[in-house]
């Protein structure tokens, strides 16, 4: 009964403020990209709505098997909105959201079939390929050697979307560009292997590439390190990696492909606070400013000469004049259509 009291106590306390919970993807806080971006959104909301909400977060075990339990425990303990960071939460949120119809859930990157506005689940989806298209264009514009590279973490349909968008963007600018592409590994560990990330990037640089884009989580640290060592360019991913890089590395980060998970998280919390949370699908593309490329104090000059071109391409994508491919098939079609 003590337990019940405690739970009730927590619930009563919670009634005054909305309780927002977030469960990270494997890797957790400090991955310098995806999870950190989500955390930034959570923090921003916590600050802005300090008197209306209280926030909390959880990390799954290393293998991530307890995702579902963590979601459920948060739901049981009176949380009002619970985020699952990453498409691996798809099935779990689907199950748990049915058990707790009064709790709202937000799923980042994952898509659950058959939702509508009244559902208690919102899927926050990103057009990573659009952002990648832009940084691909930037890479091709900046490359002097006509060779660029891509390093992915674990191969998966999601990471392939980054790769495909990037390649398409580069080819769009320079049809003759040569693109090297490597993946680090075949397990989730590939997202935390900066050693292999660096070696793969180094190899690409040695083969002549002068810009390398990565979509490999914490392994990207190695890619950036390789660029700094070789005095070539790296392109970051998810958050603005110039900001988290070291002083010595910054001059070698051309830009980052921004995936505004922070915006998505923030906006979702905001809608709840303002009482207009809607279920269904929320898409974050270039149009919504949900993806993009980073500009900051460190790379302003680096991209000054190509910025107008990038903006031009961005407009075309938004207008639909350029159709950015999302997978290998569309990419091949894209190549056929653009350069027959």
């Amino acid at each position: 009964s003590g337990n019940k009291n405690q739970q009730q106590g927590q619930q009563q306390e919670g009634k005054e403020k909305l309780k927002i919970g977030l469960v990270f993807d494997v890797g957790g806080r400090g991955d310098l990209s995806f999870n950190d971006s989500a955390y930034a959104g959570l923090e921003r909301a916590a600050k802005e709505f300090a008197d209306k909400i209280e926030v909390d977060y959880r990390e799954p075990s290393a293998g991530g098997q307890d995702r579902e339990q963590l979601l459920r425990l948060l739901a049981e303990n009176g949380f009002d909105l619970i985020f699952g960071v990453g498409f691996l939460f798809t099935e779990h949120i689907q199950k748990v959201s049915q058990e707790f119809p009064n709790v709202k859930f937000a799923l980042i990157d994952g898509a659950i079939d058959g939702l509508d506005e009244n559902s208690n689940v919102a899927c926050l989806l990103f057009k990573e390929h659009e952002g990648s298209f832009l940084v691909g264009a930037a890479a091709a514009l900046k490359s002097k050697t006509g060779k660029i590279g891509f390093v992915g973490g674990m191969k998966s349909p999601l990471i392939e979307r980054f790769e495909v968008g990037y390649m398409a963007g580069a080819k769009y600018v320079n049809p003759n560009i040569e693109i090297y592409s490597d993946y680090i590994g075949t397990t989730g560990d590939a997202f935390k292997d900066p050693v292999k990330g660096k070696e793969l990037a180094l190899n690409q640089f040695k083969k002549g590439a002068d810009v390398v884009y990565h979509a490999s989580g914490a392994s990207g640290v190695g890619v950036i390190e390789a660029a700094a060592a070789e005095k070539k360019f790296a392109i970051g991913v998810d958050s603005d990696q110039s900001l988290s890089a070291s002083e010595a590395q910054r001059p070698f980060i051309l830009t980052s492909m921004l995936k505004r998970v922070d915006v998505a998280v923030y906006e979702t919390i905001k809608s709840l606070v303002e009482g207009n949370f809607k279920g269904g699908y929320k898409v974050f593309g270039l149009t919504e400013d949900g993806v993009g490329y980073a500009e900051n104090d460190y790379n302003k000059e680096l991209i000054a000469d190509i910025k107008s071109k990038l903006e031009e391409i961005k407009e075309k994508i938004i207008k639909g004049e350029i159709k950015v491919p999302v997978d290998k098939n569309e990419y091949n079609e894209f190549l056929k259509n653009n350069f027959k």
């Binding site: 337990n3 991530g64 579902e68 339990q69 199950k95 989806l125």
Partner: protein, 373 residues
């Protein structure tokens, strides 16, 4: 007789002492982050033991560890270190998944055993490589199984992300992400949960609990392994080879034969490890399929000193710690790493204290013996 009672008491006491000692050490860690150790432990026990679903989840957590503990222990019993349970169970799980999703329309009574069998066969096949290399080429099983674990990771990725990926998955507006996973298992290949059975005794489990028939099967398997080891000629041979290979050989036992059969048995047990998750929880195999059961199995087996029944208990202990970690994280905001530390300290104190205790008990028993003769 009195001494016998005293010894039994000491045996019981050892694990308790170990738990107390590790709790003390962990308390320092908890204090260092400004939380109250008492509250943490109270919450942990309360949360884990006072709720029906927690208890069931602990047993569910323990299920794969029972099998992997058994698999590792069979290796240890014959003097081999099977670090390869990890790879073996992944391959086993894939074989089971393959039989589960590719065959349709069979009645469950046939399909289910078939899928389980495939799991065991997959584990055996993957175990066959290192033991074959050892017996025929003298390759050290520790090296080969470590290598094969890594190879299995890539192989599995190829199988489920390229070859057998579920192409029926749909994207929403071309977005989100499909999973690199196999198609779903046919319903006839899914292991029933224990809810119905327990319901007969008036125990109602919540729907979100996945405790299933693999748990009783694990206990049954442990009993069978115990019987095999202690009451059959082959089990005797296996233990003899493990404890003195030369003497066994001299007695006409072929260590090579024992190694091959024993390792295949270990692999078959490893094949069961992933099935509880696959056939009751996921229903498919994806890149996120649980890892590390093989390594946890090493600790489970050794804490239990390779005793099959001990393995059940140490697996449940691990399941308890895992559930407890979720509880204190959610209810108290204590980082789950605290539990990892507790777990490590607990393993160490269990082995240290049982060691000291056993030495002491041995001495007591010796005294007893002399008086007898």
């Amino acid at each position: 007789m009195k001494k016998g009672f005293y010894i039994a008491l000491l045996r019981m006491l050892a694990p308790m002492l170990a738990i107390v000692l590790s709790a003390l050490i962990s308390s320092i860690v908890i204090l260092s982050i400004g939380k109250s150790p008492l509250q943490v432990f109270y919450t942990m026990f309360k949360f884990s033991l006072s709720r029906m679903d927690s208890v069931a989840i602990i047993l569910y957590n323990a299920t794969p560890l029972i099998f992997s503990g058994l698999a590792v222990s069979v290796g240890f019993r014959m003097g081999l270190f099977n670090i390869g349970v990890e790879g073996q169970y992944l391959i086993g799980a894939f074989f089971a998944a393959l039989a589960g999703f590719s065959i349709k329309g069979l009645p469950a009574a046939i399909h289910l055993p078939l899928v389980i069998l495939c799991g065991a066969v997959g584990g055996m096949l993957w175990a066959f490589i290192p033991i074959f290399l050892k017996v025929k080429r003298g390759v050290h099983e520790v090296i080969s199984t470590i290598m094969l674990n890594y190879i299995s990771y890539s192989l599995i990725h190829y199988l489920i992300a390229d070859l057998f990926i579920d192409r029926s998955q749909k994207l929403i507006q071309g977005l989100g992400s499909i999973l690199a996973r196999t198609p779903k298992l046919s319903p006839s290949a899914m292991m029933p949960k224990l809810h119905g059975f327990l319901g007969l005794f008036g125990l109602q489990l919540p729907r979100h609990v996945y405790l299933n028939w693999f748990f009783p099967l694990g206990i049954l398997t442990a009993a069978l392994i115990y019987y095999l080891l202690m009451y059959t000629p082959f089990g005797f041979e296996l233990r003899a080879v493990g404890q003195n290979r030369e003497a066994a050989r001299t007695a006409g036992i072929s260590p090579e034969r024992v190694y091959i059969i024993g390792f295949l048995l270990s692999g078959a047990l490893a094949g069961f490890v992933g099935l509880s998750d696959l056939m009751s929880y996921f229903g498919y195999m994806d890149m996120d399929f649980p890892r590390n059961y093989g390594f946890d199995g090493i600790a489970v087996a050794l804490i239990a000193q390779n005793n099959p029944f001990g393995i059940i208990f140490s697996a449940i202990l691990f399941g308890f710690l895992k559930r407890g970690a979720e509880g204190i994280q959610t209810l108290l905001g204590v980082p789950r790493e605290t539990i990892s530390i507790l777990q490590a300290v607990m393993i160490m104190s269990i082995v240290v204290i049982t060691k000291i205790m056993n030495d002491y008990i041995k001495r007591l028993e010796k005294k007893e013996e002399v008086r007898l003769c």
